[in-house]
Symmetry: C2
Subunit: 387 residues, 2 copies
């Protein structure tokens, strides 16, 4: 992957340039609305729902929120990760001397058990570059098979990041492959940010044409007031923040709070990035700590206004609503933003205060939809059935 020093600057203009590179390879995913969920977001929580929460005894906030869902679960390989992967590889192919010096034959490598594995495999196959994906031996067979089905070579490792990185180092030594990290690189950040650009245009167009929010008064000719996006390694959140720089659109991040998965929120509070996290939150795409490059955008440049966290139960409740009412399949990581909009009184109070009578048009990023029926079933299994 390109030397970060030679990457485009981390600006909105670079996200626009990234979009023109990746657009031919990715789906222009739809932005959807849902009356039931918008109504629910605009209805105050009950006093009893706040019992046992940090907001117990407070008057529930009365925000007016119109939700716009960017459906990256309908993206190629079922997640936004193809944006960064295609951007990294189109930039790599254009790199001076790379082809001439045998870069293509040496290929690319990454370690991932999740969506980045399939995204890089697909992008590499599309661009005719051999890819090696290092996956923990304990990865689910369906994910291994999916990665292989895109033509990648899968090499197994232990589960800790030390073990995974050691195997990556071996692969690089053996093949000379270039590492394409999942989030902590400017090219990846700029690629993921392209979803923010699309969202801005799509919502503006939908509001202008009167589409999408049946029975709701939307401000004529305007667009989003804010976007809330999930934060794991922070590549997509920080890219989205770049895509909104200078537009007046506020960007917020959402994390699970389980077992300290809210490292970015805690890091912001402490003024220092938290570099390691060990959590088994059901939002399995968000178990990683925020990376160094994303941190410079989120913290140093203050392009993310605030971070919020939600409980496992709130994630499950939001997931149920999306599946049963919106009829969309998303993975748990996708709904932390929606859960914040529905259940986090700090966020809801902010919308009430800033949005007032007119309310906010709030963009929600559904980051991916890769979950098996079995995993879904298990997540909602009655407690007494769990071993």
């Amino acid at each position: 992957m390109a030397d970060p020093a030679k990457c485009p600057p981390l600006t909105r203009a670079s996200v626009v340039a990234a979009h023109s590179l990746v657009k031919p390879y990715i789906h222009y995913t739809p932005v959807l609305t849902n009356t039931t969920l918008t109504t629910l977001a605009s209805t105050p929580q009950s006093v009893s729902a706040l019992e046992g929460t940090p907001w117990a005894g407070q008057e529930p906030a009365k925000p007016k929120i119109r939700l716009w869902f960017k459906c990256e679960n309908l993206q190629k390989v079922g997640a936004f990760k193809v944006r960064g992967a295609f951007h990294a590889l189109t930039r790599l192919v254009a790199e001076e001397g790379w082809e001439e010096q045998g870069g293509r034959e040496r290929g690319v490598v990454t370690h991932s058990s999740g969506n980045h594995a399939q995204a890089l495999a697909l992008a590499a196959r599309t661009m005719g570059i051999p890819a090696t994906i290092v996956m923990p031996r304990i990865s689910t067979p369906s994910k291994i098979a999916a990665t292989q089905s895109y033509g990648a070579r899968v090499v197994f490792s232990g589960s800790t990041s030390t073990e995974r990185e050691a195997v990556v180092a071996d692969v690089i030594k053996e093949t000379g492959a270039r590492l394409v990290p999942p989030y902590d690189h400017p090219d990846i950040i700029l690629g993921q940010g392209t979803l923010g650009l699309e969202m801005q245009t799509q919502v503006e167009e939908m509001i202008a044409s009167g589409q999408g929010q049946a029975g709701e008064k939307t401000k004529k000719g305007k667009g989003l007031d804010a976007i809330i996006a999930p934060c794991g390694g922070g590549g997509m959140l920080s890219g989205t923040a770049l895509s909104c720089e200078g537009t007046g659109i506020s960007v917020f991040g959402a994390e699970p709070e389980f077992q300290g998965a809210d490292d970015c929120k805690r890091g912001l509070a402490a003024g220092k990035r938290i570099e390691s996290v060990s959590t088994l939150t059901i939002a399995d795409g968000l178990r990683t700590p925020v990376g160094a490059y994303p941190w410079t955008i989120i913290h140093d440049r203050k392009l993310v206004r605030a971070m919020y966290s939600v409980t496992e139960e709130q994630i499950k409740a939001a997931l149920r609503l999306v599946l049963e009412r919106m009829k969309m399949v998303v993975e748990p990581s996708s709904v932390v933003g929606l859960a914040t909009a529905l259940y986090n009184e700090d966020f809801r109070r902010l919308v009430e205060q800033e949005g007032g009578e007119q309310g906010w048009d709030l963009g929600i990023v559904f980051s991916g939809g890769n979950i098996s029926i079995e995993a879904l079933g298990k997540m909602f299994e009655p407690a007494e059935k769990k071993a």
Copy 2:
């Protein structure tokens, strides 16, 4: 409900008239495409996949099928049933003397534990008519709550049709309410058929504008070659058939075969309608035998070209594909048409022979999406975990 003798004739023109009545009340649901599923439908099954089926040892068919999905899972109340319910009630309200003779106060009644219950409840509330829904005592609490949430009065009965009809008779005696049956009535059939009209227009528009089948050559300026729809009571299938009369579009029906749920197919073979069925197929919307009015359209007028049936395993396999690959939540009844297109060699051979090189543009009706996460999880639970 209107005396059937006074209903509009069962023709395409009457479906068009029904559409103008119901359009203001319903969602114009999208038609979606999916590259993975279209590719799968256009790929011959493996020889080994046919082992143990009626087609064992045969050369697998090589049809070329482009799939177009009419998403009634995104319809109000999550199913096509609102079309018939709104049509029946708009016609009732317009009936001479109904209002003057106190018809509105007397209200409407039906018995249903499924989507028709919620559909009638919503339509009645929208039109300001009191509704009583007779539901079996053993109905799931969420379905009872959903029906009540639309403002209907729920009255409980036993589970057999005799017990349910007895309670309906009591309600009618007590209140003078008008019965709105779930499928066996011309007004219901004409209402359900409106989805067929929309599908025809939508696919024509999508083909004309080059949308929807990425990488696929579609015949320029044309539309659907055929539609395949689920058949339970047959109201929607026969209405869809009416909507296609004279258009040259073939209409097919699909049923589960489990425990004789394929009554319409068997009835056609025997030349006589089968009037009772007792099946516990997972496609729970398709457990009823085909009704007398639908039968006149399907059998007597031959407006449905053929019926096909699929196994429980084929239904589950198709359901998994829609959930995991298309990222859409549908109920099992929705996918019998897709399962036919993917797995039934009689149907696939027909498409190969009639469609040839050019193939068919095939409309698939996703009839509804009302299923809980728990029910989905249970359906795909490993066998050893089931009690």
